[in-house]
């Protein structure tokens, strides 16, 4: 059984068809990249999988079970984590608290313990968070307010917040956009490392064909809401339609 199966997914905003009958599947521990020009519908696809948007028609199966109609928090509980194209962090909290929120679902939550300051759980989950802080090299920023951190650090905090959820499927919406070349390479390394270390399946949106063809096992190409091509990076890059879409874009 595949980890994620998207079947004839269609999303319409008024008159605009953002996605038209999209089909694809991905396996466990696979890194699948979604590529395509701006406005192709990549983010819309992510929003459907994570429950932020509800598709007009079609089906999304996660580990064989439908995700349609579930709220984002229920989908998170099923084991899907994500990051956003435009960073969505909790700006007034510290980096540490942002990451601790990633553990929210795993907390044994008890209102009485909250009021009485019983913090066993807090210490337990702090261990996991510290492990990710090391992994992402965020120790220097642990207590800093997120909004005071540089852009590259914020990107990594968002990545970390999704990792500590320990999802089965991780959705990364343009994780290297806006980063310096050095930072890009670092994040690219982290993505492959993550799969090996934590065993996530990773669905990845990226513009940069060079980076993506190095990272991904397979790619799905979207253009104007339609699937243009699918296959391994070498195949896709040779596909004449893909070349036309990319060159045509400028």
């Amino acid at each position: 059984m595949s980890l994620l199966k998207v079947d004839k997914l269609t999303v319409q905003f008024g008159g605009i068809k953002a996605l038209t009958a999209i089909d694809f599947e991905m396996e466990e521990k696979e890194i699948l990249a979604i590529i395509g020009p701006n406005g192709a519908g990549k983010t819309t696809l992510f929003n459907c999988v994570s429950g932020v948007y509800h598709p007009t028609s079609g089906e999304i199966l996660f580990a064989g079970e439908s995700l349609l109609g579930l709220s984002p928090d229920r989908i998170a509980q099923r084991g899907i984590g994500r990051t956003f194209q435009n960073i969505r962090l909790f700006n007034n909290m510290s980096v540490l608290d942002n990451l601790m929120l990633g553990r929210h679902m795993k907390f044994q939550r008890n209102i009485l313990q909250a009021f009485l300051r019983i913090r066993k759980e807090e210490l337990l989950h702090r261990e996991k968070v510290e492990e990710i802080i090391d992994f992402l090299d965020l120790a220097a920023y642990r207590q800093a307010r997120v909004i005071d951190c540089p852009y590259g650090v914020q990107k990594r905090v968002e990545l970390g917040r999704a990792i500590v959820m320990e999802p089965k499927l991780l959705l990364l919406d343009e994780p290297v956009a806006g980063l310096t070349v050095e930072e890009k390479n670092r994040v690219a390394y982290l993505v492959t490392e993550m799969r090996g270390r934590f065993g996530f399946g990773i669905l990845l949106i990226e513009h940069d064909l060079r980076i993506v063809s190095r990272l991904a096992d397979r790619m799905v190409v979207l253009n104007f809401g339609q699937k243009l091509a699918e296959g391994n990076p070498a195949e896709v890059q040779r596909n004449p339609e893909v070349i036309r879409a990319y060159v045509g874009e400028g």
Binding site: F90, N91, L116, R117
Partner: protein
């Protein structure tokens, strides 16, 4: 600066020895006040403790969870009248207080439901409507409000050879401290984190598995519980209530106290309470100007110190902690 040696140290309520020192001194001063202060000071102190509880509650909702509410007077009235009726039926004070808080919390959940759909000014309008509706209900039904004479409420008894006033003072101080500690604990827990997450970015919170329905309603319930206790204590303090005491301007005063004290700050709630109690006292000769002072202060705070009095306080502490270095 002292180094944090374990994760546990990060979770301590009082981090610096200095903080512990001045808190202890403040509490001792407050404990001794009835011996040295006059009746007026005891009166003011009691009122500030009572109001602080309500402001803390509303700060949980407005400051931490980011849900703008203008219906506080409604919860005050529900707390006050529930307490009044239960006390008249002969329930012990503790139980009646708990009942009043729970009643207000129940209505808090009801008012919270629109917050699942509405944001910002729209939510403010709905809650404002709730406050007015509660006022009208109490004003029109004499069974609830005790009629034209209002509801007479048994005052707090004199205990341990103290005067009634001093006993009430200590009881309010005790509740004030208990609620302050509980609030600090709450906001530093997973729940407080979820509240702030909803305020800062509700979509991100949801995607991390925070159930918006549950936490928004919880925030409404908890904050209304606090405000219900505030209303009940106020009723006991006055010994008499009528609906007129809970009109819209009460909601505004609570809102002003939250903003002036400082959004998302527990100390701020206490400062805010002190502010809205003390200013009318200081300017008692010019009652018409009190709302003007409130309004102008809010504007100044918004422009120069968005974190309110608590923000000022924090900067002062930072300044003295680092003294003589800047």
């Amino acid at each position: 600066m002292n180094l944090v040696e374990s994760y546990k140290d990060d979770l301590k309520l009082i981090e610096k020895p200095w903080t512990g020192c001045w808190i202890t001194m403040t509490v001792i001063a407050l404990l001794l006040l009835p011996w040295f202060g006059n009746e007026h000071l005891i009166y003011m102190g009691t009122l500030i403790f009572i109001v602080s509880v309500g402001i803390m509650g509303q700060n949980i909702l407005i400051g931490y969870t980011g849900q703008i509410s203008l219906g506080q007077a409604g919860f005050l009235a529900i707390g006050a009248f529930s307490f009044g009726h239960m006390a008249q039926m002969g329930l012990p004070i503790g139980l009646a207080l708990l009942g009043a808080g729970c009643m207000a919390a129940f209505f808090g959940v009801l008012v919270g439901f629109p917050s699942l759909r509405l944001k910002g000014p729209y939510l403010a309008i709905v809650t404002l409507g709730f406050g007015i509706a509660v006022y009208q209900t109490f004003a029109s039904f004499e069974v609830l409000s005790g009629g034209r004479m209002g509801l007479v409420i048994p005052k707090f008894p004199a205990l341990f050879g103290l005067t009634r006033e001093a006993s009430m003072y200590y009881f309010s101080l005790f509740l004030g401290i208990a609620f302050t500690l509980a609030t600090y604990n709450l906001i530093s827990s997973y729940m407080g984190r979820a509240f702030v997450a909803i305020r800062d970015n509700d979509i991100a919170a949801e995607v991390l598995g925070v159930n918006l329905t549950r936490y928004k309603l919880l925030s409404f319930a908890i904050s209304s519980f606090y405000t219900g206790i505030h209303g009940a204590m106020f009723a006991m303090f006055m010994g008499f209530i009528d609906p007129q005491m809970f009109n819209f301007s009460e909601s505004l005063i609570i809102f002003v106290a939250v903003v002036i004290g400082g959004l998302a700050s527990v100390e701020g709630a206490i400062f805010g309470a002190a502010f809205v109690i003390l200013v009318p006292q200081v300017f008692s000769g010019y009652k018409e100007f009190v709302p003007v002072i409130f309004g102008v202060t809010v504007i100044f705070i918004m422009i120069f110190e968005p974190l309110g009095l608590a923000g000022r306080w924090f900067k002062m502490r930072l300044y003295y902690r680092n003294w003589p270095f800047r």
